[in-house]
Amino acid sequence: MKRKNVLALGLIAMMTAATFAGCGSSASGDSATGDSASTDGASGKVYYLNFKPEADEAWQEIAKQYTEETGVPVTVITAASGTYEETLSSEIVKDEAPTLFQVNGPVGLANWKDYCYDLKGSSLYNELTSDSFALYDGDAVAGIAYVIESYGIITNTKLLEEAGYTIDDIQGFDDLKKVAEDITARSSELGFSAFTSAGMDGSSDWRFKTHLANLPIYFEYQEKGIDSTDAIEGTYLDNYKQIWDLYINNATCKPADLAGKTGDDAENEFAERKAVFYQNGSWEYANLTGKGMTDDELAMIPIYVGAGDEKNQGLCTGTENFWCVNSEASDEDIQATIDFLTWMVTSDAGTKMLAEQIGVIPFKNAADTTNLFVLNDRAYTEAGKTPVSWNFTTMPSEEWKNGVGSALTAYAAGTGSWDDVVSAFVDGWATEYAAAN
C-alpha cells in the first residue's frame, strides 16, 4: 500500500516537472554564454536584446569572441522584425532581463525612461565623438546612439545613363521631375520605369509615412528654428504631395495597386533593373550588392521636394537607434554591459563588425566603412552640403504614422483625397501629441 503511495507521489512529481520543463528555456536563441565563475574571475554578464534582425549573426559572432577574450558571458537575442516593443515589454520583467536594449529616439524613450541607466561620464559615453549623439532624459544620458544612417533616393546610374542623363543633371525637385517624367514617357521603349513601386504594405510603408514625411517636418522645424512641436502646421505639405505624386505616377505599377506592394517587391524591382530610382537607406547596400548590383551602378541622391536650398541639400542623415543600459540590472551586470559596449566601440574587432554590419558609428575609434551610400553621404558633406536631419523621432506615435500611411494609400488609389492626408498629418499630430503627453 505504502509503495503505491510513493509511486503515486513520484508520478505526480514527474508529470509536474514535465509540465514546467518548457518554461525555463523561453529565452532561447543562440547565445554565447559561458560559466562566468570559472574564467579569470570576471563577474557580471551581458544580455543584449537586439533590434536589427539583419545583424543577428554578426552579433552572435562578436559576442562569442568577447566571451572567449574576457570570460564575460554575452547573450544576444534578436526580436523578430517589427516586434521589438512587445519582446522588450515581456523580457524586461523577467529575472534574467536584458541588461542592454534600445529605444528609438525621444518618443521611444517616453516608454522606457524608468529603465534607463544614466550613462553620463561612463567609458562608453566618453567615446562618443559628439554630445549630440546622446539621448537625454533631463540631464541624464539615457541612451547612446550607435549608428548613423543615411537615406535618400538610391539611383541606378547605368539605367539613368541609358535614359540620357547623369546624376549631375539632378540638382533639385524640378530636375528630378523632368527626368522621371521623361523616363515614364519613354518607359516602354527603354524597358524600365523611373521609380520602384512605392509599396504601402506594412513591410514598406515606413519609407513614406516615416522617412518621406520627415522632409516636410524638417523644413518646418528649420523655418521655425525648433526641434520638436506639439502641433505641426504642415506648411510644407504641398511639397510632400509633389514628391508623392511623382513617386506614384512614375512607378512600375499603377497607383491603385500600391496598397498591396511590399518592401521586397520594390527591392527586387530595383535589383532586377526595372526602375532607376528607389527610396531607401544605407542599410539597403548589403541587400542590393547581395542581389548582384555593383558599386559602379549605384549612387544615393538627396530627396528633393522643392523646398529649402536644394543646391546645398544633402542626404537625410541621423539616427533613431540608441543603446540603453537597464538600470534595474545588478551593478555587476551594468558594469559588464558598459565594458562590453566600450570594447565594441574601441577594439578592432568590435568597431570593424559595427562598421561593416551596422554602418557608421559615432565613436572616436570607429573603423572605416565600405558602404557606398555612407561614402556618398560623406562626399556630400565634404562638398559643403547640409544633411537633412532625422526629425521623425519626434513624431508623436506609431498611431500617427499609421494614420498618415492609410491616408497616403487611399489618396494614391483614388479612394481618398489629399485633404485626408493633410488632416491625418496636422490634426492627427495634435491629437496624438495630446494623448501621449
Partner: protein, 283 residues
C-alpha cells in the same frame, strides 16, 4: 477501476491544475489587477482605479471594432456551420472517395492563421486588381468579405469533421424506421438528423462564435485593420492600443479593453451554450 481513479486522482488532476493555474488563472488575475493600473511593464504598475475602463467605454474605435467583430461573427458562424453541415451530410452518404474529400476539406485547418492571411491577401488583391476594384487595404467592405471567405475556407473542414462524427452516431434504426413510416428526406433531416446532432451543433457554434470574436492573426495579416482602422476587429484593436502608442497610460487602456472583451466573449458563448444545449435530445 473506478476505485483506482478515486484513489489516484491527484496523478490525473494536479499536473493539469498546476499548468492551468500558472498558464491561465495567475495571468488572468494579474491582468484583472493591471486593468486598474497605469503601467509600462507589469512590475511597475500604479493603481489608478476605474480610469482605464472609463476611457475604454468611450473610445469610439473600440465600439467600431466591437460592431465589426459582432457582425463578422454572426455572418461567419452561420456560413461556416451551414456549409460544414451540408458537406458532412454529403460525405456521410456512401459516395466514392469520401475519405479523400474529408482530408481535402480538413487540410486548410492545418495552416497557421498568419500564413493564410498573407496568402489570401495576395490572392484577393490580384482578383480585385484584375476587376479594377480598390484593394483590401482600401475598402473595409472588401476586407470584411475577404475575412469571411478566409475563415470559411479555414474552418469549414474542421466543423465538418465534428458534424460527420455526430451524423455517424445516429443509430441506423431511427432512419430505417422513419423510411418505413414513409418520411421524406426533408423530414428525416429536420425531425431526426438535426435533433440528434444537436450536441455537435452546440460544439461547432461555440467554436465558431468564440473563434470569430477572438480572431486576431488572420485580421492582422489580411487587412491589418486598414483602411484607417475600419476593418479592425476587437483583438487587433486591443493590440494596437497596447503597442502603437507611446506613453504609459495606453497599456492600462488596452488592458481594460481586454478585460471587457473577455467578459463579452464569456457572456455571449454562455448564452449560446444555454440555447443550443436546451435543444439537445437524449438518444
Amino acid at each position: 477501476m473506478e476505485k483506482a481513479i478515486r484513489r489516484y486522482w491527484p496523478v490525473f488532476v494536479l499536473p493539469t491544475l498546476a499548468a492551468f493555474s500558472v498558464g491561465f488563472i495567475y495571468p488572468f488575475v494579474q491582468g484583472l489587477y493591471l486593468s486598474f493600473c497605469k503601467f509600462t511593464t507589469i512590475k511597475k504598475a500604479t493603481f489608478i482605479g476605474f480610469g482605464n475602463y472609463a476611457y475604454a467605454f468611450q473610445d469610439e474605435s473600440f465600439w467600431h471594432s466591437f460592431w465589426f467583430t459582432a457582425l463578422f461573427t454572426v455572418v461567419s458562424t452561420v456560413l461556416i456551420n451551414v456549409i460544414a453541415f451540408a458537406i458532412a451530410l454529403a460525405l456521410t452518404n456512401k459516395i466514392k472517395g469520401s475519405n479523400v474529400f474529408r482530408t481535402v476539406f480538413f487540410m486548410p485547418n492545418l495552416i497557421g492563421g498568419i500564413v493564410l492571411g498573407y496568402i489570401w491577401q495576395i490572392l484577393l488583391n490580384c482578383v480585385l486588381s484584375l476587376m479594377e476594384k480598390p484593394l483590401l487595404a482600401l475598402n473595409a467592405t472588401y476586407g470584411f468579405i475577404g475575412l469571411t471567405i478566409l475563415m470559411c475556407w479555414q474552418q469549414i473542414g474542421y466543423m465538418m469533421i465534428i458534424y460527420i462524427a455526430g451524423l455517424q452516431s445516429i443509430p441506423d434504426d431511427y432512419i430505417e424506421a422513419a423510411k418505413i413510416d414513409g418520411a421524406t428526406t426533408g423530414q428525416i433531416l429536420f425531425k431526426i438528423k438535426i435533433p440528434n446532432v444537436m450536441p455537435s451543433i452546440t460544439i461547432c457554434s461555440f467554436l465558431t462564435i468564440t473563434n470569430g470574436f477572438k480572431l486576431f492573426d488572420q485580421n492582422l495579416a489580411l487587412t491589418g485593420g486598414e483602411p484607417a482602422h475600419a476593418s479592425e476587429m476587437l483583438a487587433l484593436n486591443i493590440y494596437n492600443t497596447f503597442y502603437s502608442r507611446s506613453g504609459a497610460q495606453w497599456k492600462g487602456y488596452g488592458q481594460a479593453k481586454a478585460v471587457i472583451f473577455c467578459i463579452m466573449v464569456i457572456l455571449i458563448s454562455m448564452i449560446q451554450l444555454k440555447i443550443t444545449k436546451s435543444k439537445e435530445v437524449q438518444q
